[in-house]
Subunit: 446 residues, 2 copies
């Protein structure tokens, strides 16, 4: 049987009851995270621009968009869900291939479930399958695909959206093959977009293209039958080297949701250890900014190179400043979206802390570590060495921390809606209709 056929049959024949309980739980953690990210990004300018540009061409307004009052057709809604949930670079990451898989998959599924009745178990199942398809195609083509310059969250994410929506549509094997084929032939997204809105466009467009692939396949739009493995298929065209066996090894037993990670802070991953350590020092010693006289950071040389920005004015710059990282951790004891706004960067308290911080590149310090030393005005010096950064596989965010992250970034719906949305994610398997969850994510007054 071909590789494509094995994946197609798995997506078609999988039963939720056969997927281990820990994977169910990881999937719900991913949902809590991605819904929070979608709400957190829902009022980003990239969303307003997209709605302004494409809203006039949208179909019947049947689908909700997470975090927005407007309704659109579900294809445009899937694009918008993808942009919002990735635009703060705050969504999940698979350390094996650096793909943010939840955004393209969940973005399509929430749009689909907004216009079709989907039970909680079916939704959870489709999400797990879509995520796993992304993971496997990502693993099979990593690192050559990513190194070539593809932003695989887009170029691989599209397969997960197609498979997940295709599963809910009940596509037979032939049509699921076409859905995968139409995903393969829409696979796109290049890393030159990093640092622009174009990056968030990738999971959005892949959600929309994957959804569209499933719709076309359902009606019989034909494609080649070996879209992944043929000499002119996805792997060969987009990766100099690849390992197709990874597409199917232990299929149905290994699930990459188990090795998914969640960012605690909406910024470059390389400044996470500093924020993390500085928050710990803030909390442990009850620090207030006025007490602090000097800060020294010892970081990996790469981190110093990438994030050596002290004179900054834009929130976006703060996301890649090791000095701002120390300032928010020590001065505010937190690193949420509100610490990376233009206003936060202009905050004189944080500005003073940035200025009194020195950073030293040290070859003995790993990229996941930091050594922080803080000299206080009363003569004391406090400090610590961080060995593992919060959010990586060795120190995953707890369920409670994921909830806090959700709450911290959500302003577009009421606190009561936030509570209900979080509860609905954890209890998704009990939902008769996922529209209940979606309803909690739509601001009142539509």
């Amino acid at each position: 049987m071909t590789f494509t056929a094995q994946l197609v049959n798995y997506v078609r024949d999988s039963r939720l009851a056969d997927i281990p309980a820990d994977v169910h739980h990881e999937a719900k953690r991913a949902l809590v995270n991605i819904v929070g990210c979608a709400l957190g990004g829902a009022d980003h300018p990239a969303m307003d621009i997209t709605i302004d540009a494409l809203g006039p061409y949208a179909g019947p307004a049947t689908s909700a968009v997470l975090g927005r009052r407007e309704r659109f057709d579900p294809l445009l809604a899937s694009l918008l869900n993808g942009i919002s949930s990735h635009v703060h670079d705050y969504d999940d990451t698979m350390p094996r291939n650096y793909i943010h898989a939840s955004s393209p998959v969940a973005s399509a599924l929430f749009a689909y479930a907004s216009v079709n009745k989907v039970s909680g178990p079916d939704f959870l199942h489709a999400f797990i399958l879509g995520f796993e398809i992304v993971a496997r195609i990502g693993n099979a083509t990593y690192p050559a695909h990513y190194d070539a310059g593809w932003h695989s969250t887009g170029s691989v994410g599209v397969f997960g959206a197609a498979a997940a929506v295709g599963r809910l549509l009940g596509l037979d094997a032939e049509r699921m093959t076409y859905a995968i084929g139409l995903a393969a032939t829409q696979a796109a997204g290049i890393r030159e977009m990093f640092g622009s809105m174009g990056k968030s466009f990738h999971p959005g467009r892949s959600a929309q293209s994957g959804y569209m692939a499933a719709l076309l396949a359902q009606k019989g739009f034909t494609t080649g039958r070996l879209p992944l493995e043929a000499p002119r298929g996805f792997a060969a065209v987009t990766a100099a080297t690849y390992d197709l066996d990874k597409l199917v090894a232990n299929l149905g037993q290994d699930f990459d949701l188990r090795v998914n990670t969640y960012k605690p802070f909406p910024c470059g991953i390389v400044i996470h250890p500093t924020i993390d350590a500085c928050i710990q020092l803030h909390d442990r010693h009850g620090l207030v900014a006025d007490q602090i006289e000097a800060v020294e950071l010892r970081v990996a040389p790469l981190v110093k190179d990438l994030c050596d920005k002290k004179q900054i004015t834009a929130g976006l710059e703060g996301k890649f400043s090791i000095y701002h990282a120390a300032a928010i951790g020590l001065g505010r004891g937190r690193g949420s979206l509100s610490e990376f706004t233009d206003a936060a960067v202009a905050d004189p308290v944080l500005k003073r802390l940035r200025e009194l911080t020195q950073a030293v590149g040290d070859g003995e310090v790993g990229e996941d570590n930091v050594v922080v030393s803080v000299r206080l005005k009363d003569g004391r010096t406090v400090g610590m060495k961080l060995e593992q950064s919060l959010g990586n596989l060795a120190r995953p965010l707890s369920d409670a921390q994921l909830e806090t992250k959700f709450r911290d970034q959500t302003t577009v719906v009421t606190p009561a809606q936030v509570d209900a949305a979080i509860a609905a994610c954890w209890g998704v398997e009990e939902l008769a209709d996922v529209s209940t969850l979606i309803g909690h994510c739509v601001p009142a007054g539509q």
Copy 2:
């Protein structure tokens, strides 16, 4: 100035009056050809499937689709125009890079001009610019891009659609850069789709994605500023080797419309010489099928390998059968769409002619040549050697032959509409509003 900036400035600043008259005429030839192809493919099953799948999600029905009664939003219309105009593999080809550039560019432009008033000169100008952008990006990345497995009609075509629509929208340099960026990050389409409907999806989706890129850019959706030439830009990501100088060499002076070609027959290019020669023999000797006792073809060995199919039942198979090529040329004196239907393949007259034909691979015969020998029942033998196949650069289709091709494939509108449409293409520079031309291409009774 960067390569992208040079192209952006050219698209923004070009004046139609500065483009030589012969290029205007070649552009009109391309329009006659592509409109005919769109009408010829308008009732293909791929069109019905796409409308069935995506029509329910279409926006306000403001845009015509060439050759269809239904109206959709212009983004879906651009997808449909692209499918119809490429689905018979009958559109134009640039021999320098094998891209069928008119389909993605014109498909977006006709949708745009269906919902916005566009004068004939502005339409022609945008078409010339979009075509040239496709040609230059295609030339700069050929052959590595194509050899890697990209169907560059899709993956490069998207740039032309974005540039052409962006020109009509009057984008400034910054926003035109974003339009090119959003095209680059949607560039897609792999050759594994060849032989399926997926192939025609490519120019359609690239028309739609390019149109969408221009709309988003107009409203300020940002991208990287070096989408073509950056280390993680289009050229480096999708081509092992490339020559960026070809993007801008003699910009505004050289136009690849001058080296564009048009297929006389809707089938594999390698059986064109046989059809051509057999039609010539049919016409020259007044042949009728009953007279013919045996046929011998001497063809290039590659042609024999690719097209050695005598026992065929489907029209699609006829497109790659050297025997069917001889049969239609000698038996019918023509090779239009109606010679490649299932019915034509089942025609007992053509079946007998296929059976009495022998084909020999001959290393002395080039791929663009054929030697045909026909033995008649009266004892005579007639034959010829063809040196250049009709439709290549040495023997281009005449304007009159392009008109005949248009008429031969158009059944979805009336003969009076066909006459008016052809006249409007030749006279596009006199049109106050291109909707006049589009109106001639929409069947009555909508």
